[in-house]
Symmetry: C2
Subunit: 400 residues, 2 copies
Amino acid sequence: MDFSLIPDGTVTSVPGFVTGAVHAGIKDKDELDLAILYSKMPCVATGVFTTNLAKSAPIILSQRHLTQRKARAIVVNSGCANACLGEQGMTDASEMASLTATKVSIASQEVLVASTGVIGKPLPMSQVRNGIEKIELHQDGGHELARAMMTTDTRPKEIAIQVEAKEGKFTIGGVAKGAGMMHPELATMLCFITTDAAVNIDFLQQSLKKAVDVSFNMLSIDGETSPSDCVFLLANGLASNTEIGFNNGGDFQNALNEVCVSLAKSIARDGEGATKLIEVVVEGAVNQTEARQAARTIVSSPLVKAAMHGGDPNWGRIVAALGRSGAKIREDKLDVHLNDVCVMKQGRPTRFDAEELRTSLARLNRVPIKVYLNLGDGRATAWGCDLSEEYVRINSEHAT
Amino acid sequence: MDFSLIPDGTVTSVPGFVTGAVHAGIKDKDELDLAILYSKMPCVATGVFTTNLAKSAPIILSQRHLTQRKARAIVVNSGCANACLGEQGMTDASEMASLTATKVSIASQEVLVASTGVIGKPLPMSQVRNGIEKIELHQDGGHELARAMMTTDTRPKEIAIQVEAKEGKFTIGGVAKGAGMMHPELATMLCFITTDAAVNIDFLQQSLKKAVDVSFNMLSIDGETSPSDCVFLLANGLASNTEIGFNNGGDFQNALNEVCVSLAKSIARDGEGATKLIEVVVEGAVNQTEARQAARTIVSSPLVKAAMHGGDPNWGRIVAALGRSGAKIREDKLDVHLNDVCVMKQGRPTRFDAEELRTSLARLNRVPIKVYLNLGDGRATAWGCDLSEEYVRINSEHAT
C-alpha cells in the first residue's frame, strides 16, 4: 500500500461529500458554531461512542440511528453539549436531525447528531432552526466544519490521505475536535471520518473500533471522559474499488489507523494549555493490554505532565506512574529513556547530564518517553500533553 | 464512648513515646529532615503500605520487620525517598535501622524506616549517620517529628485524642505528611500513629486497615500513588485498659477512624497549591463499593477541581465524572447539591441563583459536594482539594 497526504486535506477532500457552517448564535462569540456534513450518495456508516454512563441526548439518538448501519448526514454544534437535560434534550436532538433531514431530503434516521460544549444548558432551538436553514453546503466546506466544531481548541484538526491499495484508489478524510475532558475510553472528543472507499459494513465497524483503539483510546489530556464523545465514519463507495472486507482489509485498516493517529496527535498537541506533545512508548510488557495500561498511566500522570512542562528530567515520576499502572514490572529489568537519553538502566539511575537534558527538554515541542520493561513483547504508544498553569486558568474560569 | 481533642496534641501526647529531630543536611534548606520516634515500652505494631509496584527500599524493609508484629522505633527522613536505587537503597535503609537500634538499644528488627522526597537520588549516608547520632529524644518532640517529615507540605499535620471507653481511658496520637503524589490505594503519604491502649495485635491489624479505608484511601490530591506510602501504628499498652480485641473493639475503631479522618482532611487541605478542601459525599449508591468509586472519581477530577478553584458552580463536570466512575447511575433519579444548594434534581438542572452560589463558593475554604444516586444504601465520603496554577508551578519546577 502507498498513501500520500493531500495538502490542506479535510473531509470534503473525499469525492461526494459537501459541508457548510454558520454562526447560529449558540456561542456568544462571533464564531462558527453549527455545521452539516452531507454525502450526495448513500453511505454505510458506523460509530464509536463514549463509555460515560451520563450519555448526552445526541449520543443516544445517534446510537439509535446507527443501528441501521447507514447515514448520509451529520449535524453538529459547539457551545452547548445538550447533556443532562432529560426529555427536553432528546426532543431537541431529534428536531436537529429532522430539520437537517428535511433540508437535504433524506430520512431523519439517516442523520447523526453531535453537540459539544457546556453540560446542562438547553440548546437555543430558535437559533439552531435559523442556523440550519441558513447553512449552504459546498464542496470545500470541510475547513468550516472543522472550525464550527471547536470549543477550547485553538486550531482545527483535519487530514485527508489518498490511498493506493491493491483493491483500488480511495480517499479518507477526517476532522476532529477536543482539547479538554479528554481521556481514553473513549478519547472524549468528536471525530468525523469520510471515505469514498467501497467497504463491507461488518468489516467497517470492526475496522473503526481497531483504529480508535490505537489512536483516540491512547490519548489523554486530563483523565476525563465526556458524555458527548463519538467517532463517526461514513463510506460512500464512490471510489469504485474492489469491495474491501475481512479478507482484503489490511491496507484500508492501515490507512484508517494513520488518519486516526494523526488526528489523535493533533488533539494532544492542542490540549488545553498544552505547550508540548508527550509521546510514551512502552515496550517489553508481559502483554499488549499491560503495555497499553502502562503507557496510558504515564501519559496521564499530572506529575509527569507538570515535570515535562518545566523541562525537568524527573524520571522518578515516570517510574512511580508505571508502578501504579497495574502492569507487571521488575525494577532490575527496567530501562527508561527520556528524549532518547537513557536515564534509568536495569532499575538504577544512570549518570546522565541533567543540565543538558533539561535544556533539550525545554526546547522540544514533542517529548518522547520510552520505557522498556524487558519482560515480554507487549508494546503500545500513548499521546498526551504537558500540564500548564494555563490549563488551570482555562478550567477555573466561569463556564456556567 | 467519649473522646476529647488534646490541645496541641501529637504522637508524644501519648504516654511512653518520645521523639527528636535534627537538620542532618539531607535537604539543602536549613529545615528539620531526620527524626526518630521511640517507645520506652515494647509495642505491638502494624502497618499499611503503598500498592505501587515500584516500592521504595524503606517500604520493603519495614514490611519485612513488621512480620514479627512488634516495633519500638521509627526513623524517618525527608528530602530523599530512597526509591529506585536497587541494592544500594536496601543497604542504606538497613543501616538507618541498625544505627537507630544501636542508639536506643533495641533490636534492628524493631525499627521501622520511612523516607520521603525525590525518587532516584541516593541517601547522603554520612549526613544520616551524623544526624542519627545528634538526635535527642524527649517527651515533647512530636511537633519536631511532624516538621521533619514535611516535603512540599506547608504545615505539620498532628492530632491526639483522649478516649474514655468502657475498656478504660487511653490516648491516640498521630502525625502525617503528604501534599503531592496523593491518591487512594494507598493515600500516598506517611502517617505514624501511637497509642497507649492495650490492644490485641490481630484486632489492631484489621482495625488499622479499616481506619485507612475510610480516611487515607478516600483522599486524593492528584491521582498519584507514591512508592513510599505507609501508615504505622504502635501500641504500647501503658493505659492498662481491659485489652481491646474483636469482641469489644468498637470504641477503639471509632477513635482510630477519627484520628485518621482528621489527618486525611489536614492533608487534603494542605494539598500542593490547594486553597480549598473539597468534601464529596455520595449517598444512595447500589452498594458501598460503588459509592466509594463515585466519591473518589469526583474528588479526583481535574475539571471539578479546577472549577472549584475558580468558584464556578459547574455541576455538569460533577455529573460527567460520576458517569465515568463505574458506579451505576440513573440520570432521572440523580440529585446534586453544591454547598447545600440543589443544582440538579432528578437529572435536570434546577433554577438556582448561579451568581449567589459563585460568590459563596469563592468564599469557602471547604466545599461540600453531595450526590444522591437514589438507587440503594451505599454511602461514602472522599476528600481532596482544588487544582490551582500553584500546583503546576510547584510540580514543574526542577526537583532533579
